[in-house]
């Protein structure tokens, strides 16, 4: 045993039954004190909340859980969250979960708009909750799961279909002509694909798209953007570009897009999705490929 411990603690952990129970008792006493402290703290918090209504935000949050009685029928719960400057929708949800209801469920991870976990339907629009300031929203703030996707629980939706579409466009670099060392790429070409590489797979675009809502097989803006990223990458070569355009020209590909721009409007990374889709249509025509 290498970690030396002062004597009184040594006593506490000794095997002596009497001391053990004394230690146990003191621990129980501390627990009771802690519980009392917690209770008074919660009370103080509630009072504080009541006395300064203007400093709280009201969130109306969609709730659903297939196996919990009372949540099987979707409902909205109200949460009054104390506001601080710079508070985002995600901050408010985390506060509500950690202080009021630990079963409140939503995906989140990086808190900085790069993991793409927390796209939600906030006040009637697809947004990343971590990058949405409460102060930019009308109160009450209505938070719902992404539309047009199956709800798993509360704000969590099933992403399987989105992932399937992403993976349907051969979303990986391929070329028939690889040099020994690094491939060269012009600054212009890198610039051309730059915006398309910014996609964080949040699914906001897909959820906002009317066409995707009506045609389950439509590749959708995110997957087409992924294909754009490779189609326009000069390193893949002409032959591969032909191959990619063929994939995009299929029945549920680029021609389904009706240029409503809803995807472009909601994209949290400002990717010009509709423009990318339009450009691919032009490429396809230029290459004189057959289309349906």
């Amino acid at each position: 045993m290498s970690t030396q411990v002062p004597e009184q603690v040594e006593e506490e952990s000794s095997a002596d039954a009497e001391q053990q129970s004394a230690a146990q008792q003191s621990r129980m006493e501390k627990k009771r004190q802690n519980a009392a402290a917690r209770e008074s703290q919660e009370q103080a918090e509630a009072e504080e909340k009541a006395s300064s209504e203007e400093d709280t935000y009201l969130l109306k949050v969609f709730r659903y859980d297939p196996e919990v009685a009372g949540k099987q029928e979707p409902r909205f719960d109200d949460f009054h969250v104390p506001y601080h400057k710079g508070m985002t929708v995600l901050d408010a949800l985390m506060y509500a979960r950690d202080h009021y209801d630990s079963s409140l469920t939503f995906r989140h991870s990086c808190r900085q708009a790069i993991c793409g976990s927390d796209a939600m339907f906030v006040n009637g629009r697809q947004r990343l909750s971590c990058k949405t300031q409460l102060s930019d929203l009308e109160e009450p703030v209505r938070v719902e799961p992404l539309p047009h996707q199956e709800v798993v629980k509360d704000l969590v939706v099933d992403m399987e279909h989105f992932y399937d579409q992403m993976e349907a466009v051969e979303p990986y670099f391929q070329t028939n002509d690889l040099p020994e060392g690094e491939q060269l790429q012009s600054r212009e070409n890198r610039e051309k694909i730059k915006m398309s590489t910014r996609c964080i797979w949040c699914g906001a675009c897909m959820s906002s798209c009317n066409i995707a809502a009506g045609d389950n097989q439509y590749l959708g803006p995110a997957a087409i953007n992924k294909a754009y990223r490779f189609t326009m990458d000069e390193r893949e070569g002409e032959e591969m570009k032909q191959h990619r355009l063929e994939i995009l020209e299929q029945e549920h590909g680029v021609w389904r897009c009706q240029t409503q721009f809803s995807c472009t409007e909601v994209c949290p990374k400002d990717i010009p999705l509709t423009e990318h889709i339009q450009e691919l249509k032009r490429e396809a025509v230029k290459n004189n490929l057959k289309f349906w």
């Binding site: 030396q4 603690v9 670099f173």
Partner: protein, 617 residues
């Protein structure tokens, strides 16, 4: 029971690279991760990947810089492996299509970074990690590698011989977050841990909410030592209100730090008279806090990082992402005003003890990436050295786990070779609250009864599954108690207050007292959400247990090491003490009692020995 040759836990940069490598070696491999791979925190890395690619540079120079940056606590075989392998690995990424920033001639761009003697940081704007993560996930899709995403691995299935170095890892236990199904995963050849860092130990961190150190804690409780845990990197430029990272690339491109007097303090007050803002991260973080403590901070909290003079064109070309982050998370327009920044927890230099092939002392158990400690970074990691670590050691661990012979490692693991006993005076007893017994199993510790290594692999995996089922049931069956969020918040607060950039004995002892109290509270933890469907309450409650073990290890190491080295500064001893401390801090979980010991640093490289010198920038 699911069965594969190799199970990779975690789907970030190291995990993806390990899985690709294992498959290249012919293994049937699967990734099990609590997040879908593209959600991993590798995506938040901004600055770049160090690699000696160009004329005038060499792996030897990169190795020298890294050893110096580590303040002579990195192991030479690991550092040299990193620097030798990195250039090929970067070209590999380019061949996989990674959209690196480009020079006029079409070659990959490189830029200067802190502590580097050559501009060798290969980058893609200020979003290199995002590009790397997505590029490697694309390769995973191409290869059809199976991913169990949103499965939370909560226990390792390891045999139970007396000496951890005799044990074997046979698999993991995980539960499907979506359905609540708890299942065993048998790994016929090996398990690779790639679970990332422990940022959630602190409350001001650049890390994701998911960075809870799960792999480190699981390996620790299974018998693998944690190495050099006290060395935590505080990144000098995080946004004050959220901890969001502002890349070192800003300073690499010429960004300047100012105090409230408008002074360029890195030079004015002599913190780094040669390199200024581009000194190593530990140096810059201490300088910033010293300025704040001297009353020259802005709002008594932060300093300014100014990049306006770089001009809009250059900023948009190389640092565009920084503009978005500063705007979205601090409400500041980086083109028109300086950005407020302060040190924030960023990276753990320490972690699961491995050799330069990624293997731990437990046979069949590997670790790579931030969760591992080979050790490449010693007491301080240089910017741009984390991403090459992911790909170099992820690949090696994957190859080795799948059976490739990488030759005998020069770094020894477990209590093999040279080591010495350590001692530290603690105000309260660290480790498990209950001396031993059933509770240890219930909270994720070792199994109570030992088989002496006599069970079959399947039996070990089943036993781990039973133990984990008992733990989950007990958490879910409790009707009242303390909720994990309260415990987690208290730990984070105490760690940020007491185990920060500047550390002193009394604060460290206070942290240990707070942690003991938190452990006692955790005895009463319960999960209020009883649903099996997407129960994040349950997952986070288990994570909080991991946070407790890691916070304690960080603090114990910090208390034991009474010297100033790299990122670890002690008020009582403000100098590096090579006569006593050229050694790694090791901590073993001895049935719930943390045991401290030390292993000497390896400074002998392939062709030369690195002599510790005064470290100045």
């Amino acid at each position: 029971m699911y069965e594969h040759d190799v199970i990779v836990v975690g789907g970030g940069g190291a995990g993806l690279r390990a899985a690709i490598a294992a498959q290249e070696e012919g293994a049937d491999v699967a990734i099990v991760s609590k997040l879908h791979p593209v959600r991993s925190h590798t995506g938040a890395a901004e600055g770049g990947i160090n690699a000696a690619l160009r004329d005038g540079d060499s792996w030897e120079k990169h190795a020298y810089d890294t050893m110096k940056g580590s303040d002579y606590l990195g192991d030479a075989p690991a550092i040299e492996t990193l620097c030798q392998d990195s250039p090929d690995e970067v070209v590999q990424l380019e061949h996989w299509g990674l959209a690196f920033s480009r020079d006029e001639d079409g070659r990959m761009s490189q830029r200067p970074f802190g502590g580097m003697s050559f501009p060798r940081t290969t980058y893609a704007g200020a979003e290199t990690g995002h590009q790397l993560l997505h590029t490697m996930y694309e390769q995973l899709v191409k290869r059809g590698i199976q991913v169990y995403d949103e499965w939370y691995v909560s226990r390792l299935a390891v045999s139970d011989e007396e000496d951890p170095a005799d044990r074997t890892c046979h698999g993991v236990v995980a539960y499907d977050i979506q359905s609540g199904e708890l299942s065993a995963f048998r790994a016929r050849k090996g398990v690779v841990l790639a679970t990332g860092g422990p940022g959630q130990v602190f409350d001001h961190t650049t890390n994701a909410v998911s960075n809870t150190g799960d792999g480190v804690a699981m390996a620790y409780r299974a018998g693998v030592p944690m190495e050099d845990m006290e060395f935590i990197q505080f990144h000098p430029t995080s946004l004050p209100s959220t901890g969001v990272l502002i890349s070192e690339g800003v300073r690499g491109e010429g960004g300047i730090l100012y105090n409230s007097e408008g002074e360029r303090f890195m030079f004015e007050y002599g913190y780094a008279s040669n390199d200024g803002e581009l000194a190593s991260r530990d140096v810059v973080s201490r300088a910033e806090l010293s300025e704040v403590n001297a009353g020259r901070g802005i709002e008594d909290e932060y300093v300014h990082l100014d990049m306006r003079h770089l001009g809009e064109e250059r900023i948009l070309d190389r640092l565009e992402n920084i503009l978005h982050l500063a705007k979205d998370f601090e409400g500041v327009n980086g083109l028109e005003e300086p950005m407020p920044v302060k040190p924030g927890q960023h990276y753990a230099m320490g972690g699961i003890e491995t050799d330069e092939n990624g293997e731990t002392c437990i046979s069949g158990l590997y670790a790579a990436g931030e969760c591992a400690c080979a050790s490449v970074h010693g007491s301080n990691r240089l910017g741009g050295n984390a991403l090459p670590e992911l790909i170099v050691f992820g690949k090696r661990a994957g190859h080795h786990a799948a059976g490739r012979d990488l030759g005998k490692a020069k770094i020894q693991t477990g209590k093999r070779g040279e080591w010495e006993v350590g001692e530290v005076d603690t105000p309260v007893e660290p480790g498990d609250v209950s001396a031993s017994g059933e509770d240890v199993v219930a909270d994720g510790g070792a199994a109570a009864s030992s088989s002496g290594g006599s069970l079959s692999p399947e039996e070990y995996v089943d036993r781990a599954l039973d133990a984990e089922r008992a733990r989950v049931e007990s958490l879910l069956n409790k009707e009242e108690g303390v909720q994990h969020a309260e415990i987690r918040a208290e730990v984070q607060k105490s760690m940020t207050r007491n185990v920060n950039v500047f550390r002193e004995e009394e604060g460290l002892k206070q942290a240990l007292r707070d942690l003991r109290e938190a452990r006692e509270k955790y005895e009463d933890v319960y999960v209020a959400d009883k649903s099996r469907t997407f129960n994040t309450d349950l997952m986070q409650t288990i994570e909080t247990r991991n946070i407790l073990d890691l916070a304690e290890a960080i603090t114990l190491g910090a208390l034991a090491r009474d010297e100033f080295r790299g990122a670890h500064w002690r008020k009582e001893n403000q100098e590096r003490r090579d006569d006593v401390w050229l050694k790694h801090t090791m901590l073993s979980w001895n049935d719930g009692r943390p045991e401290l010991w030390y292993r000497p640093v390896i400074l002998e490289g392939e062709e030369k020995t690195y002599e510790p010198k005064v470290r100045s920038y």
